[in-house]
């Protein structure tokens, strides 16, 4: 596969490739200038910080109305330290700004694009603990994470993938001159969950979205029934035809605690061994945020895209995903 495909693409690219407009020496020179600018900026920042620190040490007692010249109040050993406590549920709306997005042009093809890399915060650490505790109460599953050789390995608490903070920015999916329309922070984790009697794990994604950054319900992008339209957190219900028939079944209801729930079962492929399922539950929590848990069944294809195994009838149901989401702790997403 690779040799045939690669050779053909190589020949075709050679026929249409224009000459390069840069040389290695020029790029090295630009690389050196970039490094110099970055180092200079770092030194200036350090210098500014030192100056500001010195000014603060000299002036702070005057600003704060404290006696100048030492004393207990100025002693480092008595300086107060502040540790941010975990938020109470009644604090959530006050602590978290609502994401407000501009109205995009009619017909614009927009997608959320990963912007900043993952990081761990106090909020995500709390979620990691809550998610671990919750999954520990589910019987008949083994938690795992991907390995470098394409397989999975079981995880314990120490190797459990943490929930991480990332940011996404709204951008146009094809080339064009559109300005960015907004960004949002999300908390996200991916996990392998293997069910009893099944050789390979499902991929389970947990994601928290901040209030104001989505519309309730579901809708798919035009060319991809499995991917949500940018305003939504789940694909919508529609039909597709042909060899890659896809079926999305949606259900909406209000849970016992007043949270709205939107569940989607997306099926790809005709009935048979190539059939694959994605089950998604979206819980719109009372604080305005949303928790999305989706379960992608093990795919039925090998690394070359060829069909190799039968589709297993396992995995979390949408109702189970909803129960898990409803049991997760509320957090501030910032």
């Amino acid at each position: 596969m690779t040799d045939e495909f690669s050779g053909r693409v190589d020949r075709e690219l050679a026929a249409i490739r224009p000459p390069a407009a840069f040389t290695a020496a020029e790029l090295a020179a630009r690389g050196r200038r970039r490094m110099w600018r970055r180092r200079s900026a770092g030194m200036v920042a350090c210098l500014l910080a030192l100056v500001m620190g010195a000014v603060f040490v000299v002036k702070a007692p005057l600003w704060l109305g404290l006696p100048v010249g030492g004393g207990d109040a100025a002693s480092p050993s008595t300086s107060p330290s502040t540790i941010m406590p975990a938020p109470r549920p009644d604090e959530l709306n006050g602590g978290q700004p609502e994401i407000v997005l501009e109205v995009p042009p009619e017909g614009a093809d927009l997608r959320w694009i990963p912007y900043s890399g993952p990081s761990v915060t106090a909020q995500t650490a709390m979620l990691t603990q809550g998610w671990w505790d919750l999954l520990g109460s589910v019987e008949g599953i083994e938690l795992s994470r991907p390995t470098t050789d394409g397989g999975y390995e079981p995880v314990d608490w120490w190797t459990f993938p943490p929930v991480e903070r990332r940011t996404q920015e709204l951008g146009e999916a094809s080339s064009g001159g559109l300005s960015p329309l907004g960004s949002r922070p999300i908390y996200k984790q991916q996990l392998g969950v293997r069910f009893e009697g099944v050789a390979r794990p499902d991929d389970v994604f947990l994601t928290y979205y901040p209030r104001g950054s989505f519309t309730q319900g579901g809708r798919s992008v035009v060319d991809d029934p499995l991917s949500p339209h940018w305003r939504y957190l789940a694909p919508g219900c529609g039909e597709a035809s042909g060899d890659l028939a896809e079926l999305n079944v949606c259900e909406e209801y209000v849970a016992g605690n007043g949270a709205r729930v939107f569940e989607v079962l997306a099926v790809t492929g005709e009935p048979g061994p190539a059939r694959e399922e994605v089950r998604t539950s979206v819980v719109y929590t009372p604080d305005g945020n949303a928790i999305v848990i989706s379960d992608w069944s093990p795919d039925s294809h090998d690394e070359n895209g060829e069909l190799v195994v039968e589709h297993p009838a396992a995995g979390f149901t949408a109702e189970q995903l909803t129960s898990l989401a409803l049991a997760l702790p509320p957090v501030i997403i910032v």
Binding site: R17, F22, H301
Partner: protein
């Protein structure tokens, strides 16, 4: 130190820039954007040369290119970072052979695929990346890579003529 870094970097650029330009073009379908992305990636690579060398240069720079293209997407304007209008590239001689009689069928079909399907197919079958490596670059799951691969290949089969498919029979079976 700097001289050694320069020499290693320049050798890498000479040996790999054509392949990287091809990769970027297959991702975005525009030679100008591809060239900008490769230049940005290589300039960033220069600053991270020692760190990248300890890992692996090719995967490192491919990841930067994908990120640069995503950044470009995000910003939605295409700043030109061309060094100049030089037409004396330091490229391997084989890269400038005249192949104008070659019919551009497969690349045209590839460029008609949805962006993510195209990127996955290019990474898997042109760059020969594993599912794991592709998932890392695309920031998605193994299952999503395999799903996109299956759908990308199926879409390619629909876009290619019988004769082109026959030529690629090894690839489509």
């Amino acid at each position: 130190m700097d001289e050694r870094r320069d020499a290693e970097f320049r050798r890498f650029v000479v040996e790999r820039s054509e392949r990287l330009r091809g990769f970027a073009y297959l991702c975005c379908g525009d030679w100008h954007r591809a060239e900008d992305a490769v230049q940005s990636a290589l300039i960033r690579l220069y600053g991270a040369w020692n760190r990248a060398k300890r890992a692996s240069l090719d995967p490192y720079v491919r990841k930067i290119i994908v990120n640069v293209l995503i950044d470009e997407h995000r910003l939605a304007w295409f700043r030109r970072v061309r060094v100049g209008d030089h037409n004396t590239p330091e490229t391997p001689a084989a890269a400038v052979h005249d192949h104008t009689e070659e019919r551009v069928v497969l690349v045209e079909a590839l460029l008609k695929l949805p962006q993510r399907q195209r990127a996955v197919v290019v990474l898997r079958f042109w760059e020969d990346q594993s599912v794991e490596q592709t998932a890392e670059i695309m920031d998605c799951s193994h299952g999503a890579v395999k799903n996109l691969t299956m759908r990308g290949l199926a879409a390619l089969r629909g876009l290619l003529s019988e004769s082109a498919l026959a030529e690629l029979e090894g690839a489509s079976r």
